[in-house]
C-alpha cells in the first residue's frame, strides 16, 4: 500500500490557537509578566510612590504614619506585589538591553536568561518580604 492510496489528512482550517491551552515557553511567560508588571506599576505603583513620598516628607508624624501603614498586613501585601512588579520589570528590561547588544540571542541562552530574570525577581521579592515581616 503506497502513500497515494491513503486518504489525505485534512486538518481543519483556519487554526485557532487557544493561548490558554498552549504551554507557553519561558521567554513568553517572562514577556507577558513584563507587560503585566508594567501595567501594575503605572496604575498602582506611581500613585503609591507619589503618595508615599508626599506623606513621608510632610512631617515626622506622617513619616511615622507611613511607616505604621506599612505595618498593616494588607498594605504589606500591596507593597510586596509592587516590589515584585518593579523587580521583575527591571530585570526583564535589563535582559532586553543585553539582548539589544546581540548578547545571548540563541534559543538556549534566551531561555536561560528568561529563567534567570524570573527566578531572580522572585528571589529578591522574597528578600523584600523577609525585610517587611
Amino acid at each position: 500500500m503506497s502513500a497515494l492510496d491513503r486518504p489525505p489528512v485534512v486538518k481543519p482550517r483556519p487554526v485557532y490557537l487557544n493561548l490558554l491551552a498552549i504551554r507557553q515557553p519561558l521567554p513568553a511567560i517572562v514577556s507577558i509578566l513584563h507587560r503585566i508588571s508594567g501595567a501594575l506599576l503605572f496604575l498602582i505603583g506611581i500613585p503609591v510612590l507619589l503618595w508615599g513620598v508626599q506623606r513621608s516628607l510632610a512631617s515626622p508624624e506622617t513619616f511615622a504614619q507611613w511607616k505604621g501603614a506599612v505595618a498593616n498586613p494588607l498594605a504589606k501585601l500591596v507593597l510586596l506585589a509592587l516590589a515584585w512588579a518593579f523587580l521583575h520589570h527591571l530585570l526583564a528590561g535589563l535582559r532586553h538591553l543585553v539582548m539589544d547588544l546581540h548578547i545571548g540571542l540563541d534559543l538556549a541562552s534566551a531561555r536561560r536568561s528568561a529563567a534567570i530574570a524570573l527566578v531572580l525577581g522572585l528571589l529578591l521579592t522574597a528578600i523584600v518580604a523577609v525585610r517587611l515581616w
Binding site: 508594567g38 507619589l50 513621608s56
Partner: protein
C-alpha cells in the same frame, strides 16, 4: 525599472523612536534607582530628618523630577503599546489613550506638588 512604492513599511519611524526612548528613559530610571539605593545604604536607612534634608537639595529635586518625567514617558509608550495590541475598536482605544494621557498629566502635576509644594 522597478517602481518604488509610495509608502515604505515603517516609514513613520515611530517604532524606532519608541524603541530608543524606552531604553533611554529606562537607563535614567536605573541610574536614579541606584542613587536612591546608595543614599539609603550609606545612611543605613533614613529617618525623617535625613529624608527631608535629601529632598531639600535643589539638585536632588531636579534629579527626582527627571526620574518622574522619564517614568511617565516610559509608561506612556508601554501603555500605548498594550492598548494598540489588545483594544481593537478605534473609538474605545482612543478614549482609553485620552484617559491615560489625563492620568499621566495628573501624575506630573502631583510630582511638582510633592517636590516644590513646600508642604
Amino acid at each position: 525599472m522597478v517602481n518604488e512604492p509610495d509608502v515604505f513599511a515603517g516609514s513613520a519611524h515611530y517604532g524606532w523612536r519608541d524603541w530608543l526612548s524606552q531604553r533611554v528613559t529606562a537607563a535614567i530610571m536605573l541610574l536614579y534607582t541606584l542613587l536612591i539605593l546608595a543614599v539609603v545604604l550609606w545612611h543605613g536607612g533614613v529617618d525623617h530628618d535625613a529624608w527631608k534634608a535629601l529632598f531639600a537639595h535643589g539638585a536632588f529635586k531636579l534629579a527626582s523630577f527627571l526620574f518622574m518625567m522619564a517614568l511617565l514617558f516610559h509608561a506612556w509608550v508601554g501603555v500605548r503599546n498594550i492598548a494598540m495590541d489588545y483594544i481593537k475598536p478605534t473609538g474605545v482605544r482612543l478614549a482609553f489613550q485620552v484617559a491615560v494621557i489625563c492620568v499621566l498629566i495628573a501624575y506630573a502635576g502631583w510630582t511638582i506638588q510633592v517636590l516644590w509644594g513646600g508642604a
